[in-house]
Amino acid sequence: MSEQKDFEPKIIGFLCNWCTYTGADLAGTARIQYPPNIRVIRMMCSGGVDMVYVMKALLEGADGVLIGGCHPGDCHYQSGNFKARRRVAILKKILQRLGFDDDRVWLRWISASEGKKFAATVTEMVDYLKKKGPNPLKSMAV
């Protein structure tokens, strides 16, 4: 898809309280610049993200969904991020199979000390989505 002028993708972020959310906080306090396209929802754990809300965001027209969790092995609740990874794998398989854009859903491990990585991830995602174009589901009556 061609790059559209003035298209600012909207990203919904489900960030884990212990790692990625704190990492986002660090990006802020360290004054690292990153695009303001992400709307953050703080979760207690990436394992607490029910895929129904990820899909709801997509069907409502979010251009991307970023699920941020602790690195494997670092989960505050031992295994939440591993379970999130399986759920995302199932979700992506279903989206792919039915012709939805599964590449609009990103799962990333970003720790509390990785403010830079958080900023870089959001920047990368915004660039990717700008190239990809707006979510066609936004105006679809579904």
Partner: protein, 362 residues
């Protein structure tokens, strides 16, 4: 060679069930019961004379028995229950045990090689037209044939032989056997006085394979058609055409057991201002809203445990071909984890477990 007991005829099974009740091996029996000219129904009884009405090979599945078993907490009243199940119901029981919705300690499972069943509406119209679907089904069993014109889900079912029940009834052909599959089954059969002997089932298995192959062939063909027909959002929406979001598919699915399901909660009761936004952004809003996300959510939440029983389709008032959707997409999500619902007691549920090193590319 496997240990088995040869029954004189299918009626003898009822005598064995009666005896097990009389001698207090079990407190009650759960299975399908006939009642005059009414549609046979799932029931549970502890009265011996009721067993006369028991239809072990009933050619219909009015409800998924596993769903009913999970709703009745037999453990709370300590009833020892003999459950007579179809193989897909047995597979669903296995899944529900893993999901901690059934405690199997006091339950004993008998299942049989299943020729397939009819939709309840089909069963009734046959009765109304003066036919006898029960005899038709038994005739196909006797002649070692698939039950013709069975439900769609049955016609593509290649798992018609139970693997994990305590006793398997080898029901095809004229010579029928009871084969214990577990230690529990063996002990029961011996203690009730059924003599077990080594039986060679190679001819039986070979004949059964013809039916399995036929169904597997149809399944492969249907899978291919489905993957060609339904691989875009528009096609998927077309497939769901007519959905009124009545939730029947969810209510009758043995895997949708959650009391806290988002679709049983007010999560999707939207405030009216949301409709303003949608009217502006999307034009017409299809009502009741959230039809697509309802099906997508079910796919996400239960497809890894879908046993392909087809109850979703049987209960759909608008005839949406849900079996295709859930059985075939379920197969793909199960494949990610090399999992097959109801295959083994020990395999962990994909969504309840994890491996440290896996799915690197997600």
């Amino acid at each position: 060679m496997s240990l088995a007991y040869k029954i004189k005829n299918r009626e003898e099974i009822k005598e064995i069930v009666k005896k097990s009740l009389q001698e207090n091996y079990f407190d009650s029996v759960l299975g399908i019961f006939a009642e005059g000219t009414l549609t046979p129904h799932l029931g549970v009884t502890s009265k011996v004379p009721d067993i006369d009405r028991l239809m072990i090979f009933a050619p219909l599945m009015p409800v998924q028995a596993s769903r009913v078993i999970s709703n009745i907490k037999f453990t709370e009243n300590n009833l020892k229950v003999l459950c007579i199940l179809k193989p897909c119901e047995m597979r669903a029981v296995v899944e529900l045990v893993k999901l901690k919705q059934i405690v199997p300690d006091n339950l004993f499972f008998i299942s049989f090689d299943c020729p397939g069943v009819l939709e309840v509406t089909d069963y009734r119209s046959r009765i109304n037209n003066g036919k006898n679907p029960v005899d038709e089904s038994l005739a196909s069993l006797n002649s070692f044939n698939d039950f013709s014109d069975n439900r769609y889900a049955c016609s593509i079912c290649d798992k018609l032989a139970p693997k994990l029940s305590d006793i398997r009834i080898r029901s095809f052909g004229v010579d029928n056997y009871l084969e214990p599959l577990t230690e529990k089954g063996k002990i029961f059969m011996q203690s009730i006085g059924l003599e077990l002997a080594e039986v060679d089932f190679s001819v039986y298995d070979q004949k059964l394979k013809t039916i399995l192959d036929k169904r597997a062939g149809k399944r492969a063909l249907e899978r291919e058609i489905f993957s060609k027909e339904v691989n875009q959002i528009d096609a998927f929406l077309k497939e769901l055409d007519g959905c009124i979001r009545c939730h029947n598919c969810m209510v009758n699915c043995p895997m949708d057991y959650c009391k806290e399901c988002v679709f049983r909660s007010p999560v999707f009761d939207h405030p009216s201002e949301n409709y303003n936004i949608w009217l502006e952004r999307k034009g017409e809003v299809r009502l009741p809203a959230d039809m697509l996300i309802f099906h997508l959510t079910r796919l996400n939440h239960m497809s890894t445990s879908c046993v392909s029983c087809g109850m979703c389709e049987s209960s759909c008032p608008t005839g949406i071909r849900l079996t295709r959707i859930f059985s075939f997409i379920g197969e793909e999500t199960q494949k990610i984890f090399d999992y097959e619902p109801g295959r083994s007691w020990n395999e962990e549920l994909p969504v309840a477990t994890f491996r440290e090193k896996e799915l690197d590319k997600i």
